[in-house]
């Protein structure tokens, strides 16, 4: 480390920093750094510490040294070796203060933590909250996903040409955004840079929280030291020039240097030999861990288990020898691509399973080439089917005969192994899918939400980070004597549970076994929400790549207390099902590209932005050698260049948007702004009416876009609040930019009483968000922000309260009591008219659907879910699938709230129950519930809505939405639902026919 200031350490000091993935050791003597070492510890925390110290022994022998340990995984070591411990952020601050006192802010990214320290204007040290992991470990995961090394990813990112929006909340979310981009063929260069940008956004949104990062900014930690691309993104986003961005040579060692400084100040030096001895003694020490019983008591148990599962196998044939018709199935999944070729008698002739390496098209091309070259000339592919995330891309590229939704493909395959199957659980790389089968048709489909995908790829990345392959890691888990209890939340939480286990000295064996148990518990309790095995089913088939891991399979059987069938081709089930489906088409010839066509096949992908509407979708244009194009990433048909024929289907979401903003404003003395977010989506007519009547020029903010969110992102104090609330900040900024003198968003404990619930509250966030805005938005201080507490259920009281408030806060306007009364009356009338119009439109849409024989879909959520940025065009997607879309509030009056098992006390939520009842009562009506991530109230409503629907044998589908939503996954869910409905209709038709 050259050009470094001298450290104020006279004697010898050792600083040890043990982070989540790496260990760092420095030796400082006479103010100089004598030695510095940085290594991955592969969770062998204590062994590594001793080994690193041993490596440096030649410098320390016979000396008296002072020492301190820092780092998230170092606490346990420090305690059991009785050495001083210093919190890592504190240590960093110490180093920076000593070596670069001119620094105003420090951004430090570590393996799993992100930290910001502000020095100017009052020291402020911050760490990421527990739901915002994803920094170093996140970048590692993403590199794995792109199938490149970290260095390669860095290299790639420097050659980017565009940035895609990638969710920045946590790794799991980001992954679900990146996967479709990969599948759609976006350039790796662009994705790499976008990943870094996501890290930057997360750091700023999650940590700065309204405080501006400026002046001299120092960047520390591994990722920022190694990734030039990441540095570039930070500098660009924070608008820093070379002079104000510092990347010091000690970026990796800031914490360990701080520990050395701290250790020196303790004035408790000890002989090096003593230090070494103490650390060595700590290696064997074990702390008490929460554990579960081992997966197998002994080897014999494992053998019995293996023999049992060995029986569930498919028959295989030899590709080269086979003559006759063959059928191809392709499963283009989120992380892997699978191919299966079967014979007329369902023998498997060829299989392929591997990571799609970010380019599934290339892989399918290669594989088809191999199959064609090995096939006998008397054999012929007579049918081909494709399923999975990449279905459409592959279908367009290779002209397969059929595309089918994943759920259907899996069901066909499972039925082949157990015709009586009544429950299928598939845990793949990214998804957990499970469905119940009732009367030979799929009865209910449950998919994991974006937040809980602690699935296969999680174990894989973990195994790799600890230096094992998945297979080795799984094998180790089988015989862990005491699997660690790691909790069941999302990946990030599991990551920190593992960190804790490592700190406490758990072995790799027990961590591996513990992870398997966690994945299983996550699937059963968090995703499926089952209380016991009987709720799942009697004839259970499990599949998907993750179940090839015997530790996972065993954990599952133990957890539900029942044996299940895992076909030997578990990871290939989707492709196998697609092949079976292709066979069932009974075609003479397949439209699949021929041997010759494959040889000359080419594929290029280019990113563009659609200008079709305000959504500005980022799309990828795939061009194939034949000159054909396939466009992906679009939210509606417009982008794909398709025009729908005939009368467009009613879409209440679009209609409500029109109704809401069709309000005239008169010029007035003062401009009053209404932020179009949260409660305003329903009460806009009321406030608009009131303030227009009072003589204000009312300005309403526009429907949100991603930009709206970014505009206000800087002042959001609670990152885990829901997106509809967080976007409010952007609306406020927008209104201020538009020159409003006054902003208005009232605090309403109570919403409108619609007399169908026990009470009529707003949720706490809708009710009191104004208080938060007032406390956290600097810009609001430049204007007037009115947020009275009002009673909207009593015109008289409302007028009185409004009058009192205006008297106090705007006395210069001289509003009279009478004015207020008249204004409130006008507003109420406007509001009632608006709601009546919404209901009338709802009825009209229902009539339309019935006249034209269309299915009705209630897209149930809250009024603010009609915001195109919040529902991400799901309404349009549903319309494009042939549904007439209505909103919950447009038809809630057509049914009565059924008796519910919860306290029905929120106005908006009560409509959900009525809407569900309407769907339950009507054959042609289906309901899909949209739930914003972080919505606490929906933890209560979702179970209830499901119960209302299922009581009448209806399917329940829930879509969790957030900042960014993977429309590909939504499409699969809606299509699965459609598939299941068609299947049911077909069954019923058959029965009636008999």
């Amino acid at each position: 480390m050259e050009n470094m200031k001298e450290l104020p350490i006279k004697n010898t000091a050792v600083g040890i920093d043990i982070g989540s993935t790496t260990a760092k050791l420095v030796i400082v003597e006479n103010g100089q750094v004598l030695y510095a070492k940085y290594e991955r510890h592969y969770s062998q925390v204590r062994q590594k510490t001793v080994a690193m110290l041993a490596d440096a022994a030649h410098l320390l022998k016979g000396k008296t040294v002072s020492v301190a340990i820092a780092g998230s995984a170092g606490l346990g070591t420090a305690l059991s070796a009785d050495l001083p411990f210093v919190q890592e952020v504190f240590a960093t601050a110490e180093t920076v203060r000593t070596l670069a006192p001119e620094t105003d802010a420090v951004i430090e990214l570590g393996g799993e933590d992100a930290k910001i320290i502000f020095f100017d204007g009052g020291l402020d040290e911050r760490m990421n909250g527990s739901c915002a992991g994803g920094t170093g470990a996140f970048i590692d995961q993403m590199a794995t996903l792109l199938d490149v090394t970290n260095d390669e990813m860095d290299e790639l990112s420097l050659a980017y040409s565009r940035i895609y929006p990638i969710a920045s909340r946590c790794g799991v979310f980001a992954k679900t955004d990146i996967q479709p981009l990969l599948n759609q063929g976006a350039r790796k260069e662009d994705i790499a840079a976008s990943i870094y940008q996501a890290v930057v956004n997360q750091t700023i949104a999650g940590l700065a929280q309204g405080r501006k990062i400026g002046g001299n900014v120092m960047f520390l930690g591994g990722p920022l030291y190694y990734c030039k691309g990441l540095r570039a993104r930070f500098m660009k986003t924070l608008k820093l020039d070379e002079e104000h961005a510092a990347f010091p040579p000690y970026a990796l060692y800031a914490v360990s240097l701080g520990a050395a400084l701290y250790g020196d100040k303790q004035k408790k030096p000890l002989a090096f030999e003593e230090l070494f001895q103490r650390l060595q003694n700590s290696v064997g020490e074990k702390e008490e861990l929460s554990t579960t019983p081992p997966l197998f008591a002994n080897e014999e148990e494992y053998e019995v288990f293996s023999a049992r599962h060995g029986k569930a196998t498919a028959e295989f044939g030899v590709l080269e020898d086979y003559r006759g018709k063959a059928y191809l199935g392709i499963d283009c999944g989120s992380t892997t691509t699978k191919l299966v070729l079967i014979s007329e008698d369902n023998k498997i002739l060829y299989t392929y399973y591997d990571s799609n390496k970010g380019n599934p098209v290339q892989i399918v091309k290669e594989q088809l080439g191999i199959i064609y070259s090995r096939m006998h000339e008397d054999a012929k592919i007579c049918g081909s089917g494709v399923t999975g995330y990449g279905e459409e891309l592959i279908c367009h590229a290779f002209h397969t005969d059929a595309g089918l939704v994943e759920t259907m493909a899996h069901y066909s395959a499972a039925k082949y192994f157990n015709p009586k199957v009544d429950f299928i659980l598939d845990i793949g790389g990214q998804d957990i899918k499970c469905f119940k089968v009732h009367n030979d048709s799929i009865d209910s489909i449950i998919l994991n939400e974006a937040c809980s995908s602690g699935c296969g790829s999680f174990i894989e990345t973990f195994a790799r980070s600890m230096g094992y392959t998945v297979e080795e890691f799984a094998k180790k888990g089988l015989f862990g004597n005491a699997p660690v209890d790691l909790g069941t939340r999302c990946t990030v939480f599991m990551n920190s549970s593992v960190k804790q286990a490592q700190k406490d000295g758990a072995s790799v064996e027990n961590i591996s076994a513990g992870l398997s148990v966690s994945v299983v518990k996550n699937a059963i309790y968090k995703v499926i929400r089952a209380a016991n095995a009987d709720e799942l089913g009697k004839e259970i088939v499990v599949q998907g790549g993750t179940f090839m891991n015997d530790a996972v399979l065993r954990s599952f059987e133990k957890e539900i207390g029942r044996n299940v069938i895992r076909p030997k081709i578990a990871p290939l089930m989707g492709a196998f099902g697609a092949a079976l489906h292709a066979k069932s088409l009974n075609l003479e010839t397949s439209s699949l590209l021929s041997k010759e066509e494959i040889q000359v096949f080419t594929h290029t992908a280019k990113g563009i932005t659609c200008g079709g509407c305000g959504n500005r979708c980022h799309m990828t244009v795939n061009t194939f050698g034949t000159g054909e194009k396939y466009i992906s990433g679009n939210q509606c048909e417009k982008g794909a260049g398709i025009r729908t024929e005939g009368e467009p289907l009613p879409n209440l979401y679009a209609r409500k948007r029109e109704l809401l903003v069709s309000r005239e404003s008169k010029p007035g003395k003062k401009k009053l702004g209404l932020p179009l977010a949260l409660g305003t989506f329903e009460l806009l007519p009321l406030w608009h009416g009131i303030f227009t009547a009072l003589g204000y020029e009312v300005v309403v903010s526009e429907f949100s876009t991603r930009k709206t969110y970014m505009k206000g992102q800087y002042s959001i104090p609670s990152d885990t609040a829901c997106y509809p609330a967080k976007i409010m900040h952007g609306h406020m900024e927008e209104l201020i930019e538009k020159g409003c003198d006054i902003l208005f968003y009232p605090a309403l404990t109570y919403n409108m009483d619609e007399h169908n619930s026990d009470n009529h509250y707003n949720c706490p966030v809708v009710a009191y968000y104004a208080e938060l805005l007032n406390g956290n938005m600097e810009s609001v201080k430049d204007v007037k922000f009115f947020f009275p507490y009002l009673n909207v259920n009593d015109e008289k009281a409302c007028a009185k309260e409004l009058y009192a408030y205006l008297q106090k806060h705007a006395p210069e306007e001289n509003h009279t009591k009478k004015d207020c009364k008249k204004a409130v009356a006008k507003g109420m009338a406007d509001y009632r008219a608006h709601m009546a119009a919404v209901r009338a439109e709802g009825e009209k849409a229902v009539d339309f659907a019935r006249k034209h024989g269309k299915k009705i879909l209630i897209l149930a959520g809250r009024p603010y879910h009609i915001d195109p940025e919040i529902c991400h065009g799901i309404d349009k997607l549903a319309v494009s699938l042939g549904f007439v879309v209505v909103s919950e509030d447009s038809i809630a009056h057509l049914a009565k709230v059924p008796p519910v098992q919860v306290l029905n006390q929120w106005t908006y939520h009560s409509r959900l129950y009525a809407a569900a009842q309407f769907a339950a009562e009507n054959k042609d009506v289906e309901l899909v519930q949209m739930v914003s991530f972080g919505c606490g109230v929906d933890a209560i409503t979702t179970d209830e809505v499901r119960a209302i629907l299922e009581k009448q044998g209806k399917l329940y589908t829930q879509l969790k939405i957030d900042e960014i939503t993977n429309l590909g996954a939504v499409r699969i869910r809606l299509r699965s639902m459609l598939g299941a409905l068609e299947e049911r209709a077909r069954k019923e038709g058959n029965q009636n026919g008999r």
């Binding site: 606490l75 001083p84 210093v86 919190q87 952020v89 504190f90 040290e125 760490m127 909250g129 527990s130 739901c131 929460s290 909790g487 069941t488 999302c490 939480f493 599991m494 920190s496 549970s497 960190k499 804790q500 518990k521 309790y525 968090k526 929400r529 209380a531 104090p717 609670s718 885990t720 605090a747 404990t749 109570y750 026990d758 509250y761 707003n762 706490p764 966030v765 009710a767 968000y769 938060l772 406390g775 956290n776 947020f787 507490y789 009673n791 009593d794 309260e801 008796p899 519910v900 098992q901 306290l903 029905n904 929120w906 972080g934 606490g936 109230v937 933890a939 209560i940 979702t942 179970d943």
Partner: protein, 425 residues
Amino acid sequence: MEDKKRVLFTEEMRKDYTILVPTMLPIHFRLICRVLNHYGYKAEVMDGKSEKIKEYGLKYVHNDACYPALLVIGQMIDALESGKYDPHKVAFLYFQTGGGCRASNYIFLMRKAFEKAGYPYVPIISMSLTGLESNPGFKLTLPMLVKGISGVLYGDLLMDLKNQCRPYETVPGATESLAQEWEDRLYDDIVSKRFSYRRIKKNYRRIARSFAELPMDRSVKKPKVGIVGEIFVKFSPLGNNNLEEFLISEGAQPVLPGLMEFCLYCVYNMVADVDLYGGSKFKRRIMNFVYKFLLKKQGDMNRIIAEEGFDPPLDFEEARQGVQEIIGIGVKMGEGWLLTAEMLSLIKDGVNNIICTQPFGCLPNHICGKGMMKPLKEKYPQVNLVAVDYDPGATKINQENRIKLMLSNAKPPEEKAAEKEPALV
């Protein structure tokens, strides 16, 4: 709704049913249970120590529901499954708040969980300050209520004195055993024939004095760390991974506003509701009377604490009025404005280090906890605030690391080293 389906706690059951109370504040709840026993109910506080609580919670409660719901219901199912009780002979008593927070749905989540676990017949008695579902076998009488309130105040007193003494005790364990001794004595005293307000005040005095007489070394001042937040995770060692213990072991002095504050907050909201949204003036008058009454009783206790040389607990009325410069007191869901008020009062009392505890994704706390930190910091730049999320998946190490960071700034490290030395005995 669906009232007829609800399993009632009948007069019959009163005779031989055990009423189990999930734990939150061990001392308070034990005293309250004693009052119930005295009036003929077989009540028992659960100890919350079973390993399986979390697991049962995760299994039977929607995982996105709040963590306290999970822990409370987990305790209940654990008791039913433990084999310690005959499930046909137990009922549960639960204290709840009601209002616009989703916590008012706990009772329904409990019934759902019981159904799912196969105990649909177990009655649940919900008790709240805002009214309760009627159960023929359970009647709250005025003497019961009065004794219950004194139980709350005694609990607050012991909790407060314990936290003020433990960090400074020179005989390890002395504070704890004194508190235990008093808890046992009060256990009988609270239902004795000699129960009177005069006697209660005398007890306050005797308790405070005995704590003041503990051998303590106050030569090195320890940093005070306030704990505020969602009521369950703030108070319950089960919910917050033994936060008080942890702080003491790190050489800090925990400062916890008491349970009575929460009661006062609930009562006052009924007064404020009428002011803000209209309603029965009579109800307002009654509630205002109750508010003033409780305030007075708490004031008596606080005064005695101060007179015996301890830091007095926060002045509720002052806190309520002061908070309005930061947040409106119409914010009444969950802990609402009380949370902000407690932070503000702690700061004003010189407690500059504050941990705001909340279950992950707690809705009201987005506003009143994390949402009010910036305005508080603006006004009082010296404060050292940290928000810590509690959750079945959140790890202790993550929480402790954040708290440690806060503590490192609570005092210069040089002092810390000095404190590590055992105090002179």
